[in-house]
């Protein structure tokens, strides 16, 4: 049996980057906060690109706690959506340009989200990575950690539960 020849690297990269970009850039609120995502294989890192309008305490100054909450939640939802759609993107079942046009593509809905504030957010970029603790058919549980200068000195961590989008025709 001969193994199928791997796709050229550029084809794989282009498809994954286009799909991720469609997922992220279609959401107005993600653009409003200017959150972008770095991708290494299927692993995502959220980047909160600093701007003065993200400040919550002008005297310190520090990033607004609500912005940090939103950043962690956005990272959790995008990571969960990405992992949920990854197989369909890879198999060619879902074209990158159709992601926000396809009725079957829905975002997971946040049920609850808890944020621990460990340090004040400094006025510069922040990074976040989400870990899916459990992805069931209906519910998912996700942990997120965020840092700035040192990955081992987290400035915030969060965890939340999400209601997964239900496939309209599960048999097809």
């Amino acid at each position: 049996m001969t193994r199928k020849r791997p796709e050229p690297m550029q084809v794989v990269k282009q498809r994954r980057d286009a799909a991720l970009n469609a997922l992220v850039s279609g959401v107005p609120y993600i653009r409003f906060l200017n959150i972008t995502f770095d991708r290494r294989g299927d692993e995502l890192t959220g980047v909160l690109n600093f701007d003065e309008k993200l400040i919550g305490n002008p005297f310190l100054p520090a990033i607004h706690g609500g912005v940090t909450a939103a950043f962690l939640e956005v990272t959790a939802v995008i990571t969960l959506s990405w992992s949920h759609l990854f197989e369909r993107i890879e198999s060619g079942d879902l074209a990158p340009e159709d992601i926000l046009g396809d009725e079957s593509v829905r975002f997971p809905k946040t049920i609850d989200f808890t944020i621990d504030y460990l340090r004040s957010g400094l006025p510069r970029d922040a990074y976040a990575r989400a870990t899916i603790s459990r992805a069931g058919r209906r519910y998912a549980s996700v942990r997120v950690e965020a840092w700035q200068d040192h990955h081992d000195k987290l400035y915030a961590q969060g965890s939340g539960h999400f209601l997964m989008p239900q496939d309209p025709n599960p048999e097809s």
């Binding site: 107005p28 309008k53 993200l54 919550g56 305490n57 909450a69 939103a70 926000l100 944020i115 621990d116």
Partner: protein
């Protein structure tokens, strides 16, 4: 308006991110605060439905809880969030403003405990609730 309430109101209005969200603090006194966030297309979480992103609701609730702490008679000055939990009951109706009412229901020398409820025009069905603890800081 008491001096402390006036100070808290000025402080909220001086927050760049509160300004970016268009937050309007309509009531603040004795450990209670009410903040309204007008509907804004920039804050939408799913362009197909026009529903406001949960993160924007979180940001508003965090601000409102902080304001409630600062307006408490036993709070000497500033505050910072220690932890905040948000439960989302339903999507806010597109086109409607969201209003959060936060209550600082207990305060010690070091910690303030706060609850908040967010609603849209249908005030009988909450959009989200929050519970959090905040630091109590001197001036």
């Amino acid at each position: 308006m008491t001096d402390k309430a006036k100070l808290a109101r000025q402080f909220i209005q001086a927050i760049p991110h509160a300004k970016a969200l268009g937050l309007d603090l309509t009531h603040i006194a004795e450990g209670e605060a009410v903040i309204t966030m007008p509907y804004n297309a920039d804050l939408v979480g799913d362009p197909r439905t026009g529903v406001i992103h949960g993160g924007a609701v979180s940001a508003m609730m965090d601000t409102c809880c902080g304001a409630a702490v600062m307006s408490h008679p036993a709070a000497p000055g500033g505050t910072a969030t220690i932890d905040l939990r948000i439960d989302y009951m339903r999507a806010a109706t597109p086109g409607q403003a969201i209003t959060t009412r936060a209550t600082c229901y207990h305060i010690t020398r070091n910690v303030a405990f706060v609850r908040a409820v967010a609603t849209d025009d249908d005030t009988d069905r909450p959009v989200a609730t929050a519970a959090g603890s905040f630091t109590v800081e001197g001036r």
